[in-house]
Symmetry: C2
Amino acid sequence: MRSVSIIGIGQTPVGELWEHSARQLAYDAVSSAMADANVERVDALFVGNMLSGSLLDQEHLGTLVADVCGLHGVEAAKVEAACASGAAALRVGTMAVASGFHDIVVVAGLEKMTDTVGKDTTAGLATAADAEYEALHGVSFVGLNALMMQRYMYEYDVPLDAFAGFSINAHRNGARNPNAMFQEALSLEDYVRAPIIATPINILDSSPVCDGSAAVVLAPTEWAHKFTTGHHRGAVQILASASASDTLAVHDRRDPLFLEAANLSGQRALRQAGIRQDDLDFFELHDAFTIMIALSLEANGFAQRGEGWRMADEGEIGIGGRLPISTMGGLKSRGHPVGATGIYQIVESVLQLTGSAGGNQVAHARLGMAQNIGGSGATIVTHILGS
Amino acid sequence: MRSVSIIGIGQTPVGELWEHSARQLAYDAVSSAMADANVERVDALFVGNMLSGSLLDQEHLGTLVADVCGLHGVEAAKVEAACASGAAALRVGTMAVASGFHDIVVVAGLEKMTDTVGKDTTAGLATAADAEYEALHGVSFVGLNALMMQRYMYEYDVPLDAFAGFSINAHRNGARNPNAMFQEALSLEDYVRAPIIATPINILDSSPVCDGSAAVVLAPTEWAHKFTTGHHRGAVQILASASASDTLAVHDRRDPLFLEAANLSGQRALRQAGIRQDDLDFFELHDAFTIMIALSLEANGFAQRGEGWRMADEGEIGIGGRLPISTMGGLKSRGHPVGATGIYQIVESVLQLTGSAGGNQVAHARLGMAQNIGGSGATIVTHILGS
């Protein structure tokens, strides 16, 4: 298997971008990634996206983006795995280069969730759940996460404000990320006073509905140096790429408070990379809701079962902490354009690993893990990157 | 790159299967392919599907199918490229095995288009076109093909019944396929008297709206013999796998009557396989509309420009003809459950290459090409298989 590296990155700001169409966002991200990689031509384009069919009446998105970006004739396809679509598309791009089918591949994550005429974004997001056994009965995606958070608080006797530190950390970091949707810090008082949207989840436990696109350019590691000459920040190697699934419906799980797919794909990734989790310098996790942070930290072995919420503290998860998370704001503050999120995590990991993360730089970052979650933990994709 | 072979196949009958849900269809196809391959466990599952988000309110389909099939923990994702979703998913499965990331991979094609409550299937199919520059203006998918057919007839001075032989051939073959939707032969009179649905396309020029699922199990060629012992029909090698794209909108093409992506992916596939097109024993092409047959034959070099329609004759395209096409009924007679079609083409090619095609067997078939088209020619995926 050929080793694969990331030789270019691009991203749009995240937000309610009413004046930007999906195709324009994708063009902006892909063209800046290709310029960053010093390539004018690629062999293939894979797009991670969840909602273009439901919200934009547009399938065939891979070829649309290739067309809009002027990549005439290339292989193109869309990859969908709910909110893990971005990382699932990166898996496909990585396999394309690793297998030798292609040399230069661009992978874009794209989601346009606002300004969608006559469409219901909440109903769209619920298509990540089991349509017949969950969504049909009226439970929304926030509702499913609320049930998991309620169970966690009951099972482990955790107070309501125990999760505040996760949101505060994300906003502290996002305030220094020019592409973040929310660039302001939060206080504990802000969190405590935030309106509840689905008991016990409040609005500051939740990532926002938003638009955005991010892209990376992949090449064989052995050639990467040819593209990263001059002022380029340098290539970053994909040391591991792994994915795992669980039952789609939460009620079918053996244990609804254990993200088995996070554990499986995380362990597979560590084995591929040949490292231990203690070797990781940061962890870009999928903080769509604060409960997902606690469960992710536990399933990946960074905390004991029922103890993940105790890491909601700057000394633990801040930029200078034991295990920095959400270093550029995470899904909570940078934003969560669902199919794009997995690629934003990778773009931000590349910034960290090349000393380009500005005021949020994790000192001496050499190994980072990014984990992208689809649905309520049903698909989990893990990448480990190294500089 | 590791060579990849198909060690098992499965398919459901195609039709208006009102009593079968999408998940049940997928279960039936995947479980029969796994039983055929003598495997109880796979490493990954990729699902080709176009319309589950638009018509079933169900995304996250890869993991849903893995869950329903009892494949707990495996990697799973959906791959979408409009009507070429099936072959695009096979591309991904092939890359997964070729790269060494996985050993045993199942690839399913799945579409459920009938009995979708409160949904508009025609509007769903139009999401394969450019939403802003084609569909918004009211053109349906049949309409786009009708414009291309009208132009073809004008440009090359072709009479209206010139395409009849393509439909007659498909139905002759489909009549002997127990899984085909339409198992009855057609006469020239039937064709001439068929109602027009979008001038000049009549209902017998068009493939039907229907449901179905097909699946294949992949393994490294070097291990394939371990699975194909006893009464197994034998493995079939994937000699080439290639994909290409064109502009999404027909009006953006340099020449709307030349399927550039068919030419590109076909040439790439022939190069990979190291054969010439004259070496092919049959060609499973994408006969969603009869005009697509003429254009496919021309773009792949089996006929001169403007002459493809002249092959609509049993001596040319029949089972015993120069280049058998639609050997099990094609999209026209077997049916066209869009995201599943690319896998049906592969399953039927495996039947031909292993002498298992019954009354439709092409004598001494050793090399076959399958070509799956997304949209009005915007994504075209070509596989060459050999026994």
